[in-house]
Symmetry: C2
Subunit: 677 residues, 2 copies
């Protein structure tokens, strides 16, 4: 390794050390161990610090996100919109250098990481998107997409099940555009990895059909690291795992121990390491000028590559005007004009249909006109109805099962990886609108990924069928009770539970148009009637008055399958001389974003409100005075038997409504939306 390389690597290490010391908080060990690999890799990567969204950039994912000081040091050295001043604010409120890499806060971060196992799984999604994009748009002599996805991951990422799921799928999909580096430093927070992690990782990844390389000395042999990257690229039909044997906290007095994992180096330790490496021990955040110049020169080269790509793409647009316009539209983040005209609408004369089936109809209409919609299912395709007629699977062509330009992904029984991969596909850019199907109850398996979608503004769509006890015989292991509450309580998730065909179309409209909010569409297994008074437009407000009454005695607010039940209860209540209105509230998140005036027109002061949803009532007091739901686990049985047993019949709802009316008689009633602050 050249002296300049060594100095550059030590600069990265010490920037990380100084940042963690300034914060008196953070993780110096992994940055010190991984600086050589990062230095060697970034030299080979194509990216433009001045255009972080360039579609053909190579992507770097730091799956062990706690090592973010490493990434921030690189971003500073490579001239991204991040400076040494930002490093000095490491982990401080409102800084651009938060405690884990946050895609919304730090220019140059591709995906938010920290929760272990997510980054490498996002990287699989990035690689899938690149393969799909390239296969769809590349033309002979016009390789407009040929970028790589690189990921660093630690022992923790390898232990998390989500990474196992994603890695197994990546091997199956033969993603040669994915290159991951395992920081094999034999240390985790509990100390030696020997206490719990003694499996043969290399053999496991070979079993997944990955190409595995080993670098014996990741601390200083950057030639070997560079060579491994070149080797990895030569194998185009397998993802590569490069095992890097490194020393955590390399250079520190405590190197090789968990003492350097998650705590700043002590002052005397910092002093000795700076002296050892020829840095001024009194100086902090030092960037030797030779180091700065060499990275700046690298950036210049990279920008030339970017310019060449610009020319290539310009020529592509001339030669393939239609495809070129489509790519440009996607890069501009615009949907095809009038795409929403393809959304089906319904009248009460149309037959009763399950919303999962209505979802299939929507998908078949919109995938025909929006090429950036791709999706799949976690092995529940015939139940989720997520595969549209004539769809081609996204598969390695050599399998004979599909094409890389295919738009349907067979995720296998891997909900969590599906969630992380969906996030990665969205993070790729190019306006990808991607969905994944599973039973609503098993979205919970992917909670870690769903949360990161919300935090990172990945507008992905969960097609979550079998949404209540309405799934029937599979029983309580499969019947969601708490699931909607869980995701409604999470910031920035739209949780739609449409009641009929028009509302299903509205849910998809919201999902496809969103660029920042993940959507969960909770859909029924059982048939639901088409409602009088529903429309895409009304439902698009998240909540609206379905059955309007002059001076109602009570308003019933419901979602999904319970809306039709509420409408039937109105008729029962008429018999008791009670005037009941009905509000359909398919999505709390969208409804909450409406002006208060509108919301109060739907849920006004002066009328007692009863919520009806055949799941946990938790949270419904936000919109109602009284709640009818299911605050217990369900049961195995025919759906019709279950609804009856738990009292979810027109008569059962009417009974609760009567009790509500009687209880509030003579009391002054404020809308639950009318609040003190």
């Amino acid at each position: 390794m050249s002296d300049l390389d060594q100095q550059s690597i030590n600069t990265i290490r010490l920037l990380a050390v100084d940042a963690v010391a300034a914060a008196n908080s953070g993780h110096p060990g992994a940055p010190m161990g991984l600086a050589p690999a990062a230095h060697a890799l970034w030299k080979k990567m194509n990216f433009d610090p001045k255009d972080t969204k360039w579609i053909n950039r190579d992507r770097f994912v730091l799956s062990n996100g706690h090592a973010c000081a490493l990434l921030y040091a690189l971003l500073v050295l490579y001239g991204f919109d991040l400076t040494v001043e930002d490093l000095k604010q490491f982990r401080q409120l409102h800084s651009k250098t938060p405690g884990h890499p946050e895609v919304l806060d730090v220019p140059g971060v591709e995906v938010t990481t920290g929760p272990l196992g997510q980054g490498i799984s996002n990287a699989v999604g990035l690689a899938i998107a690149q393969a799909q994009f390239a296969a769809t748009y590349n033309k002979p002599d016009f390789p407009i997409s040929n970028s790589y996805t690189y990921a660093f991951l630690g022992d923790g990422c390898l232990q998390e099940g989500v990474s196992s799921e994603a890695s197994s799928l990546a091997g199956h999909l033969q993603l040669g555009n994915l290159i991951a580096f395992w920081d094999d430093n034999k240390i985790s927070i509990d100390g030696s990895t020997n206490v719990s992690f003694t499996e043969d990782v290399v053999a496991r990844y070979k079993a997944y059909d990955w190409h595995v390389l080993e670098v014996a000395n990741g601390d200083s042999d950057i030639e070997a690291i560079s060579k491994a990257i070149d080797e990895a690229k030569k194998v185009t039909n397998k993802p590569t795992l490069i095992r890097l044997t490194t020393t955590i906290g390399f250079g520190s007095l405590n190197q090789g121990t968990h003492g350097v994992h998650g705590a700043p180096l002590k002052a005397d330790d910092i002093k000795q390491v700076k002296e050892k490496w020829g840095f001024n021990p009194e100086e902090k955040f030092a960037i030797p000028s030779a180091v700065a110049e060499s990275y700046a020169a690298q950036v210049k080269k990279n920008q030339k590559v970017h310019e060449e790509w610009n020319s290539l793409f310009a020529a592509y647009k001339e030669k393939y005007p239609e495809l070129g316009a489509e790519v440009q539209r996607r890069l501009d983040g615009k949907l095809p004009e009038n795409w929403a005209d393809s959304l089906p609408t319904y009248t009460p004369a149309d037959p009763a249909v399950a919303t999962r089936k209505l979802s299939e109809t929507v998908l078949s209409k919109i995938t025909a006109v929006v090429p950036e919609i791709i999706g799949g299912s976690a092995d529940l395709t015939p139940s989720n109805l997520t595969r549209t007629p004539g769809a081609i699977d996204f598969q390695p062509p050599s399998t004979g099962l599909g094409e890389y330009s295919g738009r349907y992904i067979r995720y296998g029984v891997r909900e969590h990886a599906m969630g992380s991969i969906m996030n990665g596909i969205h993070a790729f850019g190019a306006n990808y609108k991607n969905y994944g199907g599973t039973f609503l109850n098993f979205v919970s398996y992917a909670a870690g990924a769903v949360r990161l979608a919300a935090l990172s503004h990945h507008a992905v769509t969960w097609v979550a069928t079998h949404d209540s006890i309405g799934l029937g015989e599979d029983g309580p292991t499969h019947q969601p009770i708490e699931t909607l509450a869980h995701f409604r309580a999470t910031p920035n998730i739209a949780v739609w539970r449409p009641a009929d065909g028009n509302e299903t179309s509205a849910a998809y409209k919201s999902a496809i148009e969103s660029t920042t909010t993940p959507h969960i569409l909770a859909l029924t297994r059982q048939n639901l009637p088409q409602l009088e008074g529903s429309s895409i437009e009304k439902a698009s407000k998240g909540g609206y008055t379905l059955v309007k009454q002059e001076k109602p005695d009570v308003i019933i607010v419901a979602s999904g399958s319970e809306v039709a039940l509420a409408v039937d209860a109105v008729k029962v209540l008429e018999g008791s001389g009670i005037k009941a209105g009905v509000v359909s509230l398919p999505d709390h998140h969208t409804f909450d974003s409406q002006p208060l005036e509108y919301r109060l027109s739907v849920l006004p002061d002066g009328v007692p409100i009863l919520s009806v949803e055949v799941m946990s009532t938790f949270g419904w007091s936000k919109y109602s005075h009284e709640q009818f739901g299911l605050n217990r686990f369900g049961a195995s049985g025919k759906a019709s038997d279950l609804f009856k047993y738990f009292g979810f019949t027109p008569e059962g709802v009417a009974d609760k409504a009567i009790k509500t009316v009687e209880f509030y008689k003579g009391k002054s009633v404020l809308s639950p939306l009318t609040k003190a602050f």
Copy 2:
């Protein structure tokens, strides 16, 4: 194979076929494919159908729970408290034969399965518990525990990340008492496993350090299956995976296709298979008398083994009276007398301490007097503070890292497996009280397992530290917002968020005394003062008045770190002439179980109530009129900066309280607990 074996296997197959047909719902394919293995295995298992809780029984886990018709058929044939009449009610409401095996509903079911990957992970927990129990209590010539755990699993279970995590750990732990059968039928719901699952499973399990055997013909070679089980038992320092190549739906016209996975066989198909196997096609649920007699004879033999064990244990109790009494106490499900006296108590004179640290103190006190408390952490031991001084790790002795009698489990970064394993340890019996540590935010990774704990009444304890933005610099990827709402909305989970030392002791008292309810203890990273007026007794009601006022203008209800904040706000409010009471509500679940009269004494009619919790307000309207919380993701920064920025200061809380008082002035106010029904 003998004719009788063949007839027995076909009887199992046809009972399953008839049950699914009667329900017109369910999964015949896996039972038909797995009947030979089940028949061969159960012949070798020790169990007593008349004493399903016998501690030294071999345990059978059907990880592919959708194949439950297979298990139910076996339970009927072996004379458990389940009959052909129950099979006829398969998947019907209130039957003893629900759509997936439910431990609370079906005699002989060890753990509830269906959500894929859980069963095999529970089996790892069962095997850990058996190893720990045996190492703790077995004596030379007194092998009072030497049972095996067997599991069947399908392709889906192998694809789920939770099983990868658990299997990796099982290999590390050298669990020779665990034998799993992979139903390698090359079919899942999406069709051929080739579409998404082409990894080399055998190589992967070898990489985990499992002993792997292969049975080429699982459809009829029961000698090979028997031999494989014997081979498996010979290897005592590795878990065994037996790969069974089978034909899904063996015997059906559609055998070997996904058409037989999840739908009943058609009438003509049932007819042909019965005829082919010499059964009367007109008869349903047939059990040939030779078959019935042979299983009955097997039961007799098994019961003799049980009786021999009874004698052995009686002799053990004579020879080792102290240990014998301890085992007997544990088998009786009783805690040591006066164990709760060891719980620490505090006064306001005691220093401020983080509740994670208070938790460590409780654990060190109670583990000393309650031998059935075992626990661990998902690689966050120094952060969760879950390892008590002097603890010995649960490790294979050959590693030199611990003993099988050790009581501290190094789970690695495997939260989901930890959850499933904890459930399995509880399911073993012997009064195990087991806990697992992680950050509160990452309990969500294990949502699938937590939900099953609640459904199956596994009283396990999550030590969930770093419970809010109070964790500070790690930022929003680690700061829970929705987590408490998620688990509070789930039936049968106690979600404690103690405010000080006495409440932390109360939380553990509830957790250890519970036999049916999982507990999540949300604990702070930051120090909290010891409150005036708290006590174990009061906190044990789940909620209580901490600051009492005559005719308060407002009541502030809070949990955890916000209780002390509320107390400080009271003083600020005094300055504005406002009398504020404070209610501490550490656990909604426990509070909800108190008589309404008590609850109304805490949250009475006539006083506006403001909730304060620095997380999602979702669900708090159940206990309050106004909610102050954090309905957005947090941020990276010093905890003190974050609390200030988001307004969680005494002045900030007082401001909300003043607005609450002003808003409700002159309005009649009902307690949120006063409901119409």
